[in-house]
């Protein structure tokens, strides 16, 4: 498989992924519509009858919104979940060397120079993320900088540039974002079902809501979390999620 076939394959996979994601949501909604339809079949004249599949349409629209949101902010979320911080200019000798090596390999691969991030971790590791091949983000651990010499670092960075060029990066960021979104929604629904009885019933709503707030312990707001941060303290908070979210090793 040459580079162009590889790119085409990854573009195809990205499209399929988005399509299946949308269909999955529409399918969920249509299931609800089907139940409501059955339920209101025998409704007397003048009463509400569920004919138009509103739930399916609404869920498909929500899914479209999620995809658009992940395309826009997916890279930021992945970076945030790994605790990466942007590399500032004029750092240590090792950081300077990293900048140089990245620039060299970007020239060699003919891809735009990625923006750089550092993760404070003694394990050597690196990954790229981003949904736009023209705006890659590259994160490396501090361990990688201290353990590798210049040539070894060049090899690792060249490998990551390959991910940018093959469009692996785009696909894997979408996977991480969409899978994360589903996990968040499952988590949120689970909470609703668990605490559901307390949410219904006269006058209990407010109380139940307050109790839940105490029980949930809202995570500190982080601008990068965006939608995910607003929904619930989800899997992004769990330490093991960082490995799951790493698109490339």
């Amino acid at each position: 498989m040459n580079l162009f076939e590889q790119q085409a394959a990854n573009r195809r996979k990205s499209r399929w992924l988005v399509l299946v994601f949308l269909l999955f949501f529409a399918w969920l909604g249509l299931g609800g519509d089907y139940l409501l339809w059955q339920y209101t079949l025998d409704a007397p004249r003048g009463e509400y009858r569920h004919v138009f599949p509103w739930a399916g349409v609404v869920l498909a629209l929500i899914a479209t919104g999620l995809v658009a949101n992940i395309r826009r902010t997916g890279a930021k979320k992945v970076l945030w979940s790994t605790g990466a911080r942007p590399l500032e200019a004029g750092g240590t000798d090792e950081e300077r060397r990293l900048e140089n090596v990245v620039e060299e390999m970007a020239i060699a691969a003919g891809v735009p120079r990625p923006s750089l991030y550092l993760i404070d971790d003694p394990d050597p590791n690196a990954f790229v993320t981003g949904t736009d091949p023209l705006k890659p983000h590259l994160a490396v651990t501090t361990g990688l900088l201290t353990l590798l010499d210049r040539d070894e670092l060049q090899g690792v960075i060249a490998h990551e540039m390959g991910h940018v060029k093959n469009l692996d990066m785009e696909l894997m960021t979408l996977v991480a974002g969409l899978a994360g979104a589903i996990a968040l929604i499952a988590d949120g629904l689970g909470r609703v079902f668990r605490h559901g009885p307390r949410l219904v019933g006269g006058g209990g709503w407010r109380r139940g809501r307050q109790k839940e707030r105490q029980g949930w312990q809202p995570a500190p707001h982080h601008p990068a979390r965006g939608l995910a941060g607003e929904l619930a303290p989800g899997p992004l908070d769990q330490p093991d999620a960082r490995h799951g979210d790493q698109p490339e090793a």
Partner: protein, 191 residues
Amino acid sequence: MFYLILIALVVVGGWFIMAYNGLIALKNQTANALKQIDVQLKRRHDLIPNLMQAVQGAMDFEKDTLAAVVQARNTAVVAAAGLTPQHVAASAQAEAQLSGALGKLMAVVEAYPDLKATGNVKQFQEELASTENKVSFARQLYNDTATEYNTRQQQFPTNLAAGMANASPAELWEIEDSAERAVPKVEFRRN
């Protein structure tokens, strides 16, 4: 019959537009690839005066080595000013000379552990190594693009559109440092 001629004209015209535009695109890509080298060359030329300042105090007695670098740099700066896809050889040669002179300087610096240990010199070594790499990667890109451009304008039938598109063969960036190419002379003598 009239329609046949019309169709033939449209086909030939369409082909010509595509061939012409393809050549123009490659011409601009070649110029762009050369510009990438130029950017890195400029960076390298700018680094050298600072490097000189960092080392000359400690290396007063290595005047020849320092002078060779300064001279090679000046030649390279002049050559870079006239750099176009049709005139690459002069710059390529001057840069190769400069690489050689810098290499010698760095070899001499190795002999001065105190000098080598100072922050400035270490940083310059890193920057110079990086710039050399960037030049060589940019050169790969340029040579690939220029080769494609040259091939396209020589191939039939695109060569028919080459004159109209003002296409002329681009020079490849070759390494022409006599020192780098020379085979070391080994003499066996019997006394």
